[in-house]
Amino acid sequence: MNAHQSLAVGQPIAPPEAMSLLATEPDAMVRFAGISKTYPAYRGKPGVNALQDIDFAIPRGSITGVIGRSGAGKSSLVRLINGLEKPTTGQVVVDGRNISALAGRDLRLAQRSIGMIFQHFNLLSSRTAADNIALPLEIAGWAKADINSRVSELLALVGIADKHDRYPSELSGGQKQRVGIARALATRPSVLLSDEATSALDPQTTRAILDLLANINRELGVTIVLITHEMSVVRQLAKEVVVLDAGHVVESGDVADIFTQPKHPITQSFLTEVIGDSLPVSLASRIVAAPPAGGQAVIRLQVRGAGAGDTLVARLARELGLDVALLSARIDEIGGQHVGSLVLGIPLGISSGEDAVTRTLAFLSQHQFPAEHLGYVA
């Protein structure tokens, strides 16, 4: 039990400079190589190809989001990482070990370096918070005294030192998830898997839990894999993202890159969850195809990139001499990049109506803002 003598919270590992999903072998904490997973037909249910052609790596020390709709294969993916399931083809390498080739005792030893937190917390109702956190340590055969000091340390780390003797039924959802996080970190894992860990929590608690995960990543250097169907989780926490759809990785890479230039429709739809794609009803109902005298042309433009939209309206007004109206706007930040859309009203005036629209579109095109002319309002 030498490894357990030191009670330091963990050795901070400096995150590597380049955190690309094309990470080479030494940088990868988790690597999927040629993975497919097929569930055979059983009792009249047809077989399912849950995952196909999965090849990607999760960089050491990163926070990587795996996002997909239900049925996209997220659960299968996470269960392959902690060895609860075997791939049909290919291998999953976790921290240099081919976890898909391990079985029995070897697998159980390897699983101690992979922590996991769950949507419904999965705490034992018969154990106090402290005893729940102690469970993986008991399983790993730690000495009683070592367990006690490690548990106190973990309770403090997740900010619930005062809940030592509370049973799960006496804790709030956020506190239960903190116990879950402490339990997952107990054996000092190198990877923390989060399986929809905030999906059962209210937005405020979700933010607190995500902040805690960010701290843990920063201070302990633990690689975090966030399995989620919620764009907001990826947006707040992840630096890297893998988009899953129907068992395939459809896009992967830096969060800001993926969501400022979404290529796949499913990525686009996740982006839409954050920034919306519909016009306000009061505006949409007023849009007409023919230019009314003295009205406005409606132009929607996409904003992508750091600080992209900041001065746009002012510059339009100044450089084109137009009294541009801001009809609707929605801009959010993903991975430090602005992502959103603006809906502008361009005054048609008496004579120069079409000219103003053309000049505006040309200006936007020149500055590389994708734009569309939606119609007119009176």
Partner: protein, 221 residues
């Protein structure tokens, strides 16, 4: 009621408690592992052995469908083999144990199946072995249900023990039949019934109390 009759009741009560107590202990010793196995051995489960599971299930059902009084008589040779005799309280423990084991096993199976499957997966993900999962997760989490199951088993055994008079097992039921019914002493019958009711009440209350004490699921402060 004469002191002799009261002595008879006291003696019969101890006989009943002896038979039921030992049979409940043995029935739990056999029924608990059997029930845990039944609950964890279907396809894809912790100790997956679907064929053994099916066979044991059939044996359990067959034993449970045999009326107790027939079981007592049918296994007399086996009883003699195990207890050295087929008559008396000690011998009666054999059929009582054989009847209570599958009963307890089914109750244990139901209690274990009530445990959230997510907890098994959670413990597996920490690298817990199947036996660790049984002793550290399944049994502690099912404890309230297990205690209620055991309570139910003891109450049923008290009822069964009334029938072992047929093989000279003694006990309260036997006393009630021989004195209360055959010798037509209604006050004896009444006394036996009152003692049995009191015993059942006592066992049930104790079981309920213990189950409540260990149940942390719905307790709020």
């Amino acid at each position: 009621m004469s002191p002799e009759l009261i002595n008879l009741i006291i003696q019969a009560t101890f006989e009943s408690l002896y038979m039921v107590g030992i049979a409940a202990l043995l029935g739990t010793a056999f029924g608990l592992p059997l029930g845990v196995f039944l609950a964890t051995s279907r396809k894809g489960e912790l100790f997956a052995a679907p064929i053994v599971n099916r066979v044991l299930g059939i044996v359990v059902n067959a034993t449970r469908s045999t009326p107790f009084i027939i079981l007592v008589v049918a296994i007399i040779p086996f009883t003699r083999l195990v207890a050295g005799t087929s008559i008396g309280s000690s011998a009666a423990i054999v059929p009582l144990t054989i009847a209570s084991t599958p009963f307890i096993a089914r109750l244990v199976e139901a209690a274990i199946r009530e445990v959230d499957g997510g907890l098994i997966e959670t413990a597996s993900s920490f690298g817990a072995s199947p036996l660790q999962i049984v002793f550290k997760v399944l049994i502690p989490e099912a404890l309230p249900g297990l205690l209620l199951a055991l309570t139910l088993a003891v109450v049923s055994l008290l009822g069964y023990s009334a029938m072992v008079g047929a093989v000279g097992g003694g006990g309260l039921g036997d006393l009630g039949i021989r004195y209360g019914y055959q010798r037509f002493m209604p006050e004896m019958m009444l006394a036996v019934v009152v003692v049995l009711i009191a015993l059942v009440q006592l066992v049930q209350s104790a079981g309920d109390y213990l189950a409540r004490r260990v149940n942390r699921r719905l307790r709020h402060h």
